[in-house]
Symmetry: C2
Subunit: 213 residues, 2 copies
């Protein structure tokens, strides 16, 4: 992956968004897309799209645009999502349940292979009913063991804020490679474990910034 | 706000993250923070922090760092969250319920003043029980009227993917200024309405990109 190592974070985000738009085009049986069309779909300008795609060298077809299938493969290759990633979700409340049924994970090679809670017995029946299918919820005490057994590389944190760092520490101990934290407080990990803190307030902040201008 | 109008999106995101970390420091009764400490908390380098803060001119105290209270006010001022923003949530399933009880919205002046669903009668009792408090869920047919009555400026979309664009159109018609879309498909709006599509897969993509390197 060395050839791609200089891509800035904002570009990574846009690449990921292009992927969503390409999925949508593909679902409409489109085969080819111009940078102008993709730009309009993704709310960026066409020059930006072409600049972003320059990271993989020239491969658009002159006067025709990009082949959607090729473009998707290139982007997935850059992002590292051309293989399965195995995921655990920790904390099966409202948000954890939403994550368990989030429609797009599987499409993108993200596979949730374990769900943990502090109260698996209390939660299992209720959540299975809510999700309309039986779900296995494990006690968080078994996290370290299960993460290793099931080759889990990523943990998603959906516990209440006061438990978030504790769960992050557990995931680090279980040797996951990355953590996506959806609880409203930042969590930390040693440098060899990557963290993404995703706050809904931050998404609103960035929206409001543009509304205020 | 004109003086701040050139701030890049990545900076806006970081400013929002600094705010979270400053909240955390404040909750521990800290009064002052160095750029090094803040950088470590937010997983960025100290030079980046100082560069980001250069947007509001010089105001750190030499050899001492930044006053947390002042820094928070500056950031809120830049982002436009120094006043209340009134929000509607549309689609009260698992994710919508999680948003209704998300702990940090109120702290940041984000006030959810209406919740809509296609099946308010079916949903109300169940959700109230789940959230541990009575919640008023309105029929989505009343959205336009209620958005105007309650001066709602932002809509959060938490409906299933096949309904997302329809709800976005409704929100545009109701004259909201901005939309945060949490459904897994991109939605569009005319240029005068700002959209943020927040995909959980994108958060994973950006995490996995760094894991793959």
């Amino acid at each position: 992956m060395a050839k791609y190592s200089k891509i800035p974070e904002a570009t990574v985000r846009r690449l990921s968004n292009y992927l969503k738009c390409l999925d949508e085009l593909e679902s409409k049986n489109e085969k080819v897309v111009s940078s102008a069309t993709l730009a309009a779909m993704c709310n960026v300008n066409p020059a930006q799209v072409r600049k972003d795609f320059a990271y993989f060298g020239e491969f658009g077809v002159r006067g025709m645009g990009y082949r959607i299938k090729d473009l998707k493969n290139h982007i997935k290759d850059i992002l590292g999502i051309n293989r399965e990633w195995r995921i655990a979700v920790v904390g099966i409340g409202n948000l954890g349940s939403a994550i368990l049924v989030y429609k797009d994970f599987l499409k993108q090679n993200y596979k949730i292979v374990a769900a943990f809670d502090i109260d698996p017995v209390g939660v299992t029946g209720r959540i299975s009913e809510r999700l309309g299918k039986p779900v296995e919820i494990l006690h968080v005490d078994s996290l370290k063991e299960v993460v290793k057994q099931r080759n889990i590389e990523i943990g998603i944190i959906t516990v209440p804020p006061q438990e978030a760092q504790k769960v992050a520490d557990l995931l680090v101990e279980a040797e996951v490679k990355g953590i996506l934290n959806l609880s409203p407080v930042p969590v930390r990990a040693p440098e060899h474990v990557k963290i993404r803190n995703l706050f809904f307030t931050s998404a609103l902040d960035s929206l409001v910034y543009y509304l205020s201008k």
